[in-house]
């Protein structure tokens, strides 16, 4: 059984069809790239997968369970986590607290231990902190543990978003333009990191990228969206030669990067 099966998913905002009959099946362990020009509907796919939007029609089945009507926090508990195109950290909280908060889906305790500070409180808090610090160690964020998240350098903020998403122990990780605003070196490091995460954490990943060349080196399979419709799907080589894809990107500034 596929880990994720997206079936004829459509989302309309009034007259605007942001996503039209989107279909996707993913097996465990896959790393799929989702590309397309501005406004193609890429982020809309993530918003539907995470329950932020309810589909106009079609459905999503994750591990055999239909996601329709589920709240975002329930979907996170089921094992889907994401990062945001525009960074959304808990800016005034410490980096450690950012990661601890994400750990709460996995380890938590009741209100009574919280109010009365009875032993389960200390035990669970200890576990949460240990798990958070271990994860931060891996992503080289431990040194910032007590900094406010908003004071981190841009690249580190992006890394913290990924760390925080991983803290919820997802099976499916959705990365929305994780390299946006990064310089080439940072981007390269990030792509290496994503590959490593996938193997290390036994993950299935969907990666949205605006810049096609990035996806090509990383993903086994690429989907191309244009005006809400899936116009191509295949290996990076197939996508690169697909005339519809080239057309969709023509006139876009991406063409320059594309033709290199």
């Amino acid at each position: 059984m596929a880990l994720l099966a997206v079936n004829k998913l459509t989302k309309a905002f009034g007259g605007l069809v942001a996503l039209n009959n989107f279909v996707l099946e993913m097996e465990k362990g896959e790393l799929v790239g989702l590309i397309g020009p501005n406004g193609a509907g890429k982020t809309t796919v993530f918003n539907l997968l995470t329950g932020l939007y309810q589909p106009t029609s079609g459905n999503i089945v994750f591990e055999g369970r239909d996601l329709r009507g589920k709240h975002p926090h329930q979907i996170t508990k089921m094992g889907i986590a994401r990062t945001f195109q525009n960074i959304r950290l808990f800016g005034n909280l410490s980096v450690l607290d950012n990661v601890k908060i994400a750990h709460q889906v996995v380890i938590n305790y009741g209100l009574i231990p919280a109010f009365l500070r009875i032993p389960p409180f200390y035990r669970r808090e200890g576990e949460i902190e240990k798990a958070a610090l271990e994860l931060m160690e891996i992503f080289d964020l431990k040194k910032y543990a007590h900094e406010k998240a908003k004071n981190l350098p841009y690249g580190e903020q992006r890394r913290l978003e990924i760390t925080r998403a991983l803290a919820t122990k997802p099976k499916l990780l959705l990365l929305d333009e994780p390299a946006a605003g990064m310089n080439p070196q940072e981007t390269y490091d990030l792509l290496e990191l994503i590959k490593w995460i996938r193997d290390e954490f036994d993950l299935t990943i969907i990666l949205i990228e605006h810049d096609m060349s990035l996806v090509m080196g990383l993903c086994e399979r690429v989907l191309v969206l244009d005006y809400g419709s899936l116009i191509a799907e295949g290996t990076p080589q197939e996508i690169q030669q697909n005339p519809r894809v080239i057309e969709a990107y023509l006139g876009d500034e991406e063409v320059a990067a594309w033709e290199e």
Binding site: T50, R82, I101, Q104
Partner: protein, 321 residues
């Protein structure tokens, strides 16, 4: 080890403060007027810190504190004055009634995004007042009389300490962090698996219940309740305390409550001036320290940490671990 030491020191300081004030009251060193104001400070500390839990820590904007206080005060007073039951029961019933009212007001409004809460709670406060004015069982507009005089310094002291301790324990737990994350970015919080409606309502209900406690104390000190005691001005006073002390700082709320209560005690004879001073305080703090006197900092931690460095990582470690 260090943790126990600092807890011990805090307990010691509180115990000394408690005993000194009690002796001062017994010997008439603290006169009746200042005893009243001392108790008012206590009641206001509970009001300010519980409003801060909603407005400062969870980032919702409630204007309903006078209403919840009234619900607590009246339901507590009914227990003792009308039914002749003991005071501890009044505390429990007052807090439960205010908390339940919190659920009823909070559940429909807090699940909506935006500032519906401010409008809804503003309306709620006025409705409570009008309803109370029209219920003869609680004396209508002329008020509820002959409530037993129960409140004394130990009751005020332990109510304040317990309230602050409960709020502090809540904030420094996973549940408190969830509330903070809702304030910081509700969308991201939801994506981290936080049920944001649950946490908004939870903080709101805890805040309402503690306002109810303040109401019960108020009722059993003044022994008379009138609906007009719980006008919007009361909520505004508490809001000023929270803003001056710092949204999101518990010690700030304590400082704010003490400052404002003492200031209005001195200005008792010229009530018009009181509002002018409030407005000025708000403007000054908005211009020079928009984050309030203490911002989001907690003063006791810092001071203790600096004291000789002995306590390094002791109390501070509680906040950050």
């Amino acid at each position: 080890m260090k943790k126990y030491l600092s807890t011990l020191i805090i307990c010691l300081v509180l115990a000394v403060f408690f005993v000194v004030v009690q002796l001062g009251i017994n010997n008439g060193f603290i006169t009746g007027y200042w005893v009243t104001n001392l108790y008012l400070v206590g009641i206001n500390v509970i009001l300010a810190s519980s409003l801060n839990l909603i407005n400062g820590f969870t980032g919702e904007f409630s204007l309903g504190h006078a209403g919840f206080m009234a619900v607590g005060a009246y339901s507590g007073a009914i227990i003792t004055a009308n039914l002749g039951l003991p005071f501890p029961l009044a505390v429990i019933v007052g807090m439960l009634a205010a908390g339940l009212t919190g659920v009823l007001v909070g559940l429909p409004t807090l699940r909506l995004r935006g500032d519906y809460l401010a409008i809804a709670t503003l309306g709620f406060g006025e409705i409570v007042r009008v309803v109370l004015m029209n219920i003869d069982y609680v004396g209508g507009a002329s008020g509820l009389r002959d409530i037993p005089f129960v409140v004394n310094w130990p009751i005020i002291f332990f109510s304040v300490v317990l309230s602050l301790l409960l709020i502090r324990n809540f904030i420094c737990s996973s549940h408190g962090r969830a509330c903070l994350s809702v304030r910081e970015n509700d969308l991201a919080a939801e994506m981290m698996g936080i049920n944001i409606t649950y946490y908004k309502v939870l903080a709101f209900v805890i805040g309402a219940a503690l306002a109810g406690l303040a109401g019960v104390l108020y009722a059993h000190y003044y022994t008379v309740l009138q609906p007009r005691d719980f006008s919007f001005m009361l909520t505004f006073d508490v809001l000023v305390m929270v803003m001056v002390g710092g949204l999101g700082s518990l010690t700030g709320s304590v400082v704010g409550a003490v400052l404002i209560t003492v200031a209005s005690a001195f200005l008792q004879s010229i009530p018009e001036l009181r509002m002018v001073i409030y407005a000025l305080l708000l403007i000054i703090s908005a211009v020079f320290r928009p984050q309030g006197l203490l911002g989001e900092k907690e003063v006791s931690l810092k001071i203790l940490q600096k004291l000789g460095g002995v306590f390094n990582g002791a109390v501070g470690s509680k906040q950050t671990h």
